[in-house]
Symmetry: C2
């Protein structure tokens, strides 16, 4: 389904999208809309972008007073396929299928769920792999550097296009949590409840460092061709694979790696005294790298990691994180995981302290888990309980039954 919106602003004649039918693997169940047509999107870097395509999904039905919409924001390598549809590239279910669906914490029988691919992404929303209409060639590195703020302003255009004035909930994990915080800070009147999971109000030095390693791995691949690989017919798969492997380690805890793999060998009785994947953990990492390159664009990886590095909500508000939330009426539920060392609990606590300082309505839960950062994607009963409680409590106050 393709839509078209004449710039920002609600389109009153917009029909509520239908719940998508279950698709066959390979078919793309996503919707697309062209945004920034009459009024371009002014990016933080100074460039005006438009028109641009936004790929998105919806689940459930919007109620009559449009008060039951939930926006889910995805992480670095996520996309808009969040529920039980079959992903057109991976053939797997959406990344938050455990959380989103009929009867699940984000209950599509009750809520109208929206998820979109971020600006700069590679799953349908305009990004560096797409054609620059000005040149007729893929953007590559001529694509403007985007920020979390840009991603959120683009999402706001989508929400406007869907004629939703106020979102019931904005929720997301990791980079998704950054977007949640940006939404709450930028559009405080348009967000009834906000749930940043395993996130932070700024990217730490260590996180920037890991991202830089990933970018250098991509840029070190001769097939990257200074970012112009699409015009050269090459594909920097090796570099992107290494970047993914390095990043993947940071998504897991040491305890989870130990529990899952320890020093167990991969399909062999003893050490081979060579450089094959003797250990299960090596084999697993190689698999993570090699499957990732089939679904992700190397330049998108550069752009999205850069957006995360640049995120510093306090800096956007004169160095004072509380100022970002001054006067906020949004209800917050901040969630972290005890074994997450990429976005550790103190980062979430800093957000909570900033919210407390302006007397915002905030609850905070550190979920006990040994699964590391990735816990937000996994079957983590305490997370589900917290989420269900927060959503149901907020829904009651919002008058949603």
């Amino acid at each position: 389904m393709w839509g078209h919106a004449n710039g920002k602003g609600a389109m009153e004649n917009h029909a509520t999208p239908l719940k998508p039918e279950r698709m066959t693997y390979g078919e793309d169940p996503a919707k697309r809309v062209e945004l920034g047509v009459t009024e371009k999107l002014r990016l933080d870097c100074g460039v005006s972008l438009g028109p641009f395509t936004m790929a998105y999904q919806t689940y459930g039905a919007l109620n009559a007073d449009k008060s039951n919409a939930i926006l889910i924001c995805h992480a670095l390598t996520g996309d808009h396929y969040v529920a039980d549809e079959i992903h057109p590239i991976t053939g797997k279910r959406g990344w938050w299928d455990l959380m989103v669906g009929p009867g699940k914490p984000i209950d599509t029988d009750r809520f109208f769920v929206i998820s979109s691919n971020v600006l700069g992404g590679c799953q349908g929303t305009t990004g560096p792999k797409d054609i620059d209409l000005a040149t007729g060639k893929p953007y590559g590195l001529s694509f403007p550097v985007i920020t979390i703020g840009d991603m959120v302003r683009a999402q706001k255009q989508l929400v406007d296009y869907l004629c939703i004035d106020k979102l019931f909930l904005v929720i997301g994990g990791s980079m998704g949590a950054m977007q949640v915080l940006e939404w709450a800070a930028r559009y405080p009147d348009d967000v009834f409840a906000a749930c940043p999971v395993a996130g932070a109000a700024r990217h730490s030095a260590q996180n920037i460092a890991f991202h830089e390693v990933g970018r250098q791995a991509i840029m070190a691949d001769p097939d990257w061709q200074a970012g112009d690989y699409l015009n050269h017919g090459t594909d920097p798969k090796r570099g992107l694979s290494v970047a993914r492997m390095a990043a993947h380690i940071t998504y897991l805890s040491e305890a989870a790696l130990h529990r899952k793999f320890g020093r167990r060998l991969q399909d062999r009785e003893g050490l081979t005294y060579g450089f094959d994947a003797d250990f299960q953990v090596e084999s697993y990492l190689r698999h993570q790298g090699s499957t990732f390159v089939d679904r992700f664009d190397a330049n998108s990886y550069l752009y999205i990691t850069r957006a995360m590095d640049y995120f510093d909500l306090a800096a956007e508000h004169g160095g004072n994180l509380s100022a970002a939330f001054d006067g906020a009426k949004t209800r917050f539920c901040v969630i972290s995981f005890s074994s997450d060392w990429l976005f550790p609990t103190p980062e979430s606590r800093a957000v909570v302290h900033a919210l407390n300082a302006v007397a915002a309505n905030v609850s905070f839960v550190e979920v006990e888990s040994d699964k590391g950062h990735d816990a937000f994607l996994l079957d983590e009963p305490e997370l589900f309980d917290v989420m269900t409680g927060f959503i149901n409590g907020s829904a009651a106050i919002r008058g949603l039954t």
Copy 2:
């Protein structure tokens, strides 16, 4: 100074090496000896290696009864230049200059200090970049995979060559600590005192994972040429640089990175909205990568990381770490750092528990430091105090005044 030893066994006519004179940058102050000449070194992989060259350094003078020798074992990217000499490649002082020298904790006025480049290394001891006499070409990947045990057996040949029956102390950090534990387990009668710093008795799944990322980065570089780059006239600098960058992050704590760099920008007023090193931490990492490739061989990096991955002292003793130290008379001082997440304190504690189980003489200190794994290389007063206390106490018992 070149020496020559006819296989294992003491050479009675060996003269104590002189204290090396201060050298000009570019000159190599190291000594070399050919080992494994009449009797090859039987490696764990089954290959017999010999003759091979061992590059080493000595500092101070061996006393009359040869009871004051200290062997220092280096870490992954270290070498035998440990004190105040000028490194022939980097032009910098040795890596443990803070610790080793006249009046320092490892006092070269009192002790005869030996350090050697590990087997498989690239600073003078035989490794994959050296010529295989059988083919007349560099070994490359035909070099046999070596283990920590192999490194230690090679060092034992050097110590025998130096006519030292019993080392007063074997000491080292990180991979050096692995060698210390291997020495104590393999040659319990030849080690009076042992000090493994920031080490472990086995490499964890997370550590194997990080090493695998580094290896994959090297192997992804087309200039690696399936390991045969020396014959192709290429140099996989980009891959090795990425490997070093990824590893370097693991050597520092999040707190240290935050303190040193935070989100501070590198020589610029604001974000550039590009992929240059906007942040100081990016610039620092790139520098770490680019300087490393000038002093290290990519294949050596593969071999030495593999040796660490393979290290599992308990597995060598029927799965029982205590059995590795059964009957040990060696005095142990096990040291860890509170912010070291690469070789965290529980790994050292496991060693201590194993030593306690066999009633070994062991003291254990977790040094409070926010400097991460690299703390063992840095100016860390508590480390110096602990080391001085342990060395002086052990020296008194050994009858060294």
